[in-house]
């Protein structure tokens, strides 16, 4: 813990209190502004990514029927509004790419790591504010390149978000050349953005905790985001390396992944999933942390088993490195290796189970206040259980033979990433919105959005388990081509109708977000009567966050503590009988 770092950054922040518009809102070094920039960008991608999925669902339900409003699409995508198979493959690819790399991942490690870490540890900003700014402004060209790939000749990448070569490496095979190259370049650039963010988060948590903020007084979102940053730092360079080799295969004629040039297609899969499996936990650990925070606050009760929660996060992060082969059970990898990966995969379900039981025990004997964030956190627990349990099916290698590459997998990933991550994100946005914008989100709109999303989400994704068990493969442009999928068409149409309604319900969120940002009820500093340090700062906190560096006396979950007058006890409130330290004794800002 370095007091000088705090003073230095603090002084810097105050000096630049009255910045010109462009330094305040565009090229800002304030972690809160950067977090909100990531928020706007990734919510935009979330919306577009959802739209791509709906377009895809239309074709699956009614193959060959013109998309409503599809007339505006060019001849190369959907002549007369009727989707071409090459465009369908681009939609499959770009939906996955947008959602994973440009929506969910930045929503967590771009938005909440940025926004919450300094505020929850009592720091005035990140350790490296300029690096932080560079991280966002490196993500922007990556995003622009990815969007631009839709408009180049041949269209956007069409080899799936997993981009298996040779399909992704040789243009004749996929029919897409420039689009595939832009896909690689964009993700290579995005990788640098992620790295800059990760080193910043790690350094900040290690060095800039306020006095008294010991490791085991850290709020669980900080623990989760800290461990996630380590995963990002170690995993993303592997993807970047793999992408550079793929790019060389595409443009320089090398053959790292091409057997006729001495390469090996499975090399890509090993590298991709060696990144890809930690990536899955990058997308779920921060939601777990934020849900723990919201549930404890909502139940007015300490998180049950705080230490067990921290250990579970670390165990997941460690085991996450030795399970990647479960994506490759049917790939032609040595089947004996498959048995090993099955055992590690089964074991990684244990820490997730521990976390679920601890959430349940947190609610037990609580005093649960139903707010929109709490509703989302409860939905997260309920949905994550389904995603976790369906994972056991594919962890079992023989069962995976049948369900691998079917809609069962699609159902599973959406129960984890939508039912899990996205519900947590909606909850976290509602929970920290008052801190971010100084206004509350509209409660009624929030509740309607929650219920519509919850219902239509389940009606969309739960039947996908059935589609998979019926033998429906993933990424099929026209399932009616297969006689055994004919009987599943009514279910496919049911899924699509609910997906459209689910999509429509998200407009309520957009409306609520925009309206509340400018017109919402003014928020007090601590609207949820919460304990962690961000609620001691004004809403929204000024550049530099705290007027006085907070001193931490206790852990973040002292809810309903015996002897306390109220049912919460902020981390920086001096113990009874001990006077608050005089401001001049506190390190100067």
């Amino acid at each position: 813990m370095s007091a000088t770092a705090i003073e230095h950054v603090g002084a810097h922040a105050v000096q630049h209190g009255d910045l010109p518009f462009i330094r305040k809102y565009i090229f800002s070094t304030d972690h809160k502004v950067i977090g909100i920039q990531f928020l706007i960008m990734s919510l935009g991608f979330l919306l577009v990514g959802g739209l791509l999925a709906l377009t895809m669902r239309w074709q699956i339900a009614w193959p060959g029927r013109a998309i409503p409003g599809g007339g505006i699409l060019p001849e190369t995508m959907a002549p007369g509004g009727i989707m071409l198979p090459e465009f369908y493959n681009s939609l499959v690819t770009m939906h996955g790419t947008f959602m994973i790399f440009f929506a969910i991942m930045p929503l967590l490690v771009g938005v909440f790591a940025n926004y919450l870490i300094p505020l929850q540890i009592g720091a005035p900003d990140m350790a490296f504010p300029r690096l932080n700014m560079a991280s966002f402004w490196t993500a922007v060209p990556a995003a622009l390149l990815m969007i631009a790939s839709f408009f180049v000749e041949g269209g956007a990448a069409a080899a799936g978000w997993t981009s298996y070569p040779p399909l992704s490496a040789v243009a004749e095979f996929s029919g897409v050349s420039t689009g595939q190259e832009l896909w690689c370049l964009s993700l290579i650039i995005l990788g640098f953005s992620s790295l800059m963010g990760a080193v910043n988060y790690i350094t900040t948590v290690i060095n800039m905790r306020a006095p008294g903020m010991t490791w085991f007084r850290l709020p669980l979102p900080v623990w989760a985001l800290f461990i996630t940053a380590i995963l990002v730092l170690l995993a993303v360079p592997i993807l970047t390396g793999a992408l550079i080799l793929l790019y060389f295969d595409q443009v320089l004629g090398t053959g790292f992944y091409l057997p006729e040039r001495g390469g090996q297609p499975l090399l890509w899969q090993h590298l991709f999933w060696f990144f890809g499996h930690p990536e899955v936990y990058i997308l779920i650990l921060p939601p777990m942390g934020m849900v723990s925070e919201i549930l404890a606050n909502g139940a007015r009760k300490p998180v049950f088993g705080y230490h067990a929660m921290v250990i579970a996060i670390c165990a997941i992060a460690f085991l996450g490195w030795i399970v990647w082969g479960h994506h490759m059970f049917q790939s032609g990898m040595n089947p004996m290796l498959g048995s090993t990966f099955m055992v590690t995969t089964m074991i990684i379900a244990v820490p997730s189970a521990i976390k679920t039981f601890n959430w349940l025990a947190t609610l037990w004997k609580g005093d649960i206040h139903f707010t929109v964030p709490v509703a989302h956190a409860l939905a997260f627990v309920g949905m994550f259980v389904i995603g976790g349990l369906s994972g056991v099916f594919m962890a079992s290698t023989p069962v995976d033979i049948y369900i691998h590459d079917t809609y069962f997998i699609v159902a599973h990933i959406h129960y984890v990433l939508f039912g899990g991550s996205l519900f947590a994100i909606f909850g976290a946005i509602a929970y920290w919105f008052p801190k971010m914008f100084g206004r509350m989100m509209n409660d009624r709109l929030g509740w309607i959005h929650f219920w519509l999303t919850f219902v239509f989400y389940n009606l969309t994704f739960f039947p996908m388990h059935q589609l998979g068990l019926g033998g429906m493969m993933r990424r099929l442009y026209d399932p009616t081509q297969y006689p055994h999928l004919e009987p599943l068409q009514p279910l496919n149409r049911f899924v699509t109708v609910n997906a459209l309604l689910l999509g429509a319900a998200q407009l309520l969120f957009v409306a609520n977000f925009l309206w509340s940002m400018f017109r919402g009820r003014k928020a007090v500093a601590n609207p949820w009567r919460a304990n962690s340090l961000e609620w001691s700062a004004p809403s929204p906190p000024p550049h530099g966050n705290f007027t006085v560096t907070p001193i931490v006396y206790r852990g973040p979950y002292e809810y309903s503590a015996p002897g306390a007058e109220e049912d919460y006890l902020p981390q920086d409130r001096p113990p009874a009988g001990q006077p608050a330290p005089a401001p001049e004794l506190v390190p100067a800002q």
Partner: protein, 227 residues
């Protein structure tokens, strides 16, 4: 809600299905228990005026309990699964008297090479048929799976068979049909714009019918070659 798998027509399929139903049973019990508890807690401990939450930090005994029990169940499942997996995928376990075929996948077809009446691949009476897999019932079939361009995935849903076909690799696949009939062969790995129509048919016949068909096809192939 229909949780049953489609009809199984391979010898090892029944073992795969029994593990599936075992996992379905275990996860269903956990699912209903956890969700019921969640809903019960939500209702039972909802906020009421004057209610105060209990101040409970945790319980080491419970943590040990709910670590050990899932661990035990999952490791047992892994070992249960392993024996079936090895029986299906271990090349050393492929029955030696199997009918040898080659399947070469390419955009967007499955080229099946049959050994002809002499029963041996790589001889003059071999012949190849596009996207038609014809096999005898009650006899193991050993397929050497290859791919010529991109990765495909050889998927026989009713036989509980799935194996990626990878360029540059020769991957053995085996199974044994338990009844005659027509079944589906599909591609399960995105392989390009015709992925959705890369389907074939599996025809399972009696040994006599299959032998007769092979002789007939082989003669035609020989005659065509002679012309």
């Amino acid at each position: 809600m229909n949780w049953s798998l489609p009809e199984n027509v391979s010898t090892f399929g029944a073992q795969i299905d029994s593990i599936y139903y075992l996992i379905l049973g275990i996860t269903a019990v956990i699912f209903f228990a956890v969700e019921a508890l969640l809903i019960y807690f939500i209702i039972r401990y909802r906020h009421k005026e004057g209610r105060k939450a209990a101040y409970i930090q945790g319980s080491t005994r419970l943590e040990v309990l709910w670590t050990a029990i899932p661990l035990l169940i999952l490791v047992l499942l892994a070992f249960q699964s392993r024996s079936v997996w090895v029986a299906v995928k271990d090349p050393a376990r492929i029955p030696p008297d199997a009918l040898e075929l080659r399947v070469a996948a390419k955009q967007f077809e499955w080229n099946v090479t049959y050994p002809g009446p002499d029963g041996r691949l790589g001889t003059a009476d071999d012949f190849t048929r596009r996207s038609q897999l014809r096999i005898p019932v009650d006899r193991p079939v050993r397929i050497t799976l290859t791919a010529e361009d991109v990765i495909h995935s050889f998927f026989l849903p009713e036989f509980r068979v799935k194996q990626d076909a990878v360029p540059g690799m020769e991957i053995p696949v085996w199974f044994q049909a338990t009844r005659t009939g027509e079944f589906v062969l599909g591609c399960a790995e995105l392989c390009g714009l015709g992925h959705y129509r890369m389907r074939g048919t599996v025809t399972v016949q009696t040994a006599e019918e299959f032998d007769a068909w092979q002789r007939e096809q082989s003669t035609q192939a020989g005659a065509a070659a002679a012309n």
